[in-house]
């Protein structure tokens, strides 16, 4: 036997199993431990329950205004349910621009109460605001410095005309003897 040939005819099959060791290093990651980490948050409401008054179409002419003799209209306001606190301003908007309007003859007084009975009884010494109207436009009659509450607060707005300021021009010039306007209110949230 030819050894070389024998060796030559022996064919070996060699399987190589190659182990590829892929070493992967995982970077450590852990969750943080959370305490006090929930914030339940709401934003407030700001709505006022306001009740207006019926139309005023006649105002007396007086030498001295008193609660008993002046014309009065009562409005009320309170915080709506779940509303944040706020402060009310009672306003008067004057539409007319007549001689009567600019004469300053129209007087007002504002009294407040927590009941439907005015704090002003025989005179206006307890009034929280007094003044006169002498121009068209918007006027703050009373800026209440106290927060509204969920209980009604009543605002009594009195009007009368000062006879000494009503001139012949007002009475005799066409269309100069009238006044028109309206009572309304606004409020702003109280804030820190």
């Amino acid at each position: 036997m030819d050894k070389k040939k024998l060796i030559g005819t022996i064919i070996g099959v060699i399987f190589f199993i190659v182990l590829i060791a892929g070493a992967t290093f995982a970077w450590l990651t852990f969750s943080a431990n959370i305490t006090n980490g929930n914030y339940n948050t709401i934003t407030g409401n700001f709505v006022i329950d306001y009740v207006g008054a019926q139309t005023l179409d006649d105002v007396p002419i007086l030498s001295t205004g008193t609660p008993e003799s002046a014309a009065v209209r009562t409005v009320s306001a309170k915080l709506s349910t779940n509303s944040v606190a706020g402060k009310l301003t009672v306003k008067l908007t004057t539409n007319s621009d007549t001689l009567l309007t600019t004469s300053g003859a129209l007087n007002y007084a504002v009294c407040t109460s927590s009941t439907e009975a005015s704090s002003c009884t025989t005179d206006f010494s307890q009034a929280v605001a007094t003044g006169t109207i002498n121009a068209s436009g918007e006027k703050d009659l009373y800026v209440d410095p106290n927060d509204l509450t969920t209980a009604n607060r009543y605002y009594f707005v009195y009007f009368w005309l000062d006879g000494s300021l009503i001139t012949n021009d007002i009475l005799e010039t066409p269309d100069q003897n009238s006044y028109s306007g309206y009572i309304h209110a606004s409020a702003e949230q109280s804030h820190n």
């Binding site: 099959v13 450590l28 990651t29 969750s31 943080a32 339940n40 948050t41 934003t43 700001f46």
Partner: protein, 212 residues
């Protein structure tokens, strides 16, 4: 001569078989159950070596936001965020803290992005100040509150290696307020303000991890 031929023929057939992958019913063998090596493991946080804590400052109160120009007022929200960590590994890392919006209910109609831009937040490193030491600031205008949770704030801090005792990163202070520049007038008994009576929840989460 014949023997050599037969031998090399058998070898050749074996080779062909192996290469072609044909199946023949050769005897098989497998391990018994008794011979199997069981492997079971658990993943556990190695908190003795690597952990982080985030204290968001108090969850007890319901924070009620009312328009204000003062981020320190009781109409705004202020929280002190305390983040502590241990990293007793040889690899430095980072802490990532996220404040997410996880619930959002608009009870008066959906606020617009413009309206939400008045709901502002600031993170500073200064107690009692939302203007000094500002780290990040923003507002809620980009919140897609129909797809929650939404990430509001992400704070990232690098941390050193070989820190074996609990260490605090710099104190952080969160301020959230509804800016008083936001104007709305409710008329009469109707609440038409989408920014009023909003309910939302913010939640902290975070991770501590090694970095390459």
């Amino acid at each position: 001569m014949k023997k050599k031929f037969i031998f090399s023929t058998i070898i050749a057939i074996l080779i062909i078989v192996v290469i072609a992958g044909a199946t023949f019913a050769y005897w098989q063998w497998m391990t018994s159950e008794e011979e199997e090596t069981s492997i079971s493991l658990k993943v556990e946080g190695d908190t003795s070596n690597m952990s982080a804590k985030i204290d968001g400052g108090s969850s007890i109160d319901i924070n009620s936001l009312i328009p204000t120009s003062n981020c320190l007022s009781s109409d705004a929200l202020q929280k002190e965020i305390t983040i502590t960590y241990i990293n007793n590994t040889d690899i430095s890392g980072e802490i990532v803290a996220n404040l997410d919006i996880t619930s959002f209910t608009a009870n008066n109609g959906n606020p617009t992005n413009e309206q939400l831009s008045y709901l502002k937040w600031v993170i500073t490193n200064t107690e009692n100040s939302c203007t000094t030491g500002i780290i990040q600031s923003g507002d809620f205008s980009n919140v897609d509150y129909h797809n929650l949770p939404q990430n509001l704030i992400t704070i990232q801090n690098n941390i050193s290696s070989n820190i074996s005792t609990e260490t605090q990163i710099q104190p952080l202070y969160l301020y959230i307020w509804l800016d008083s520049a936001y104007e709305h007038i409710n008329i009469g008994n109707n609440n038409t303000d989408s920014m009023q009576n909003l309910n939302f929840t913010l939640e902290w989460s975070g991770i501590i991890r090694q970095l390459g």
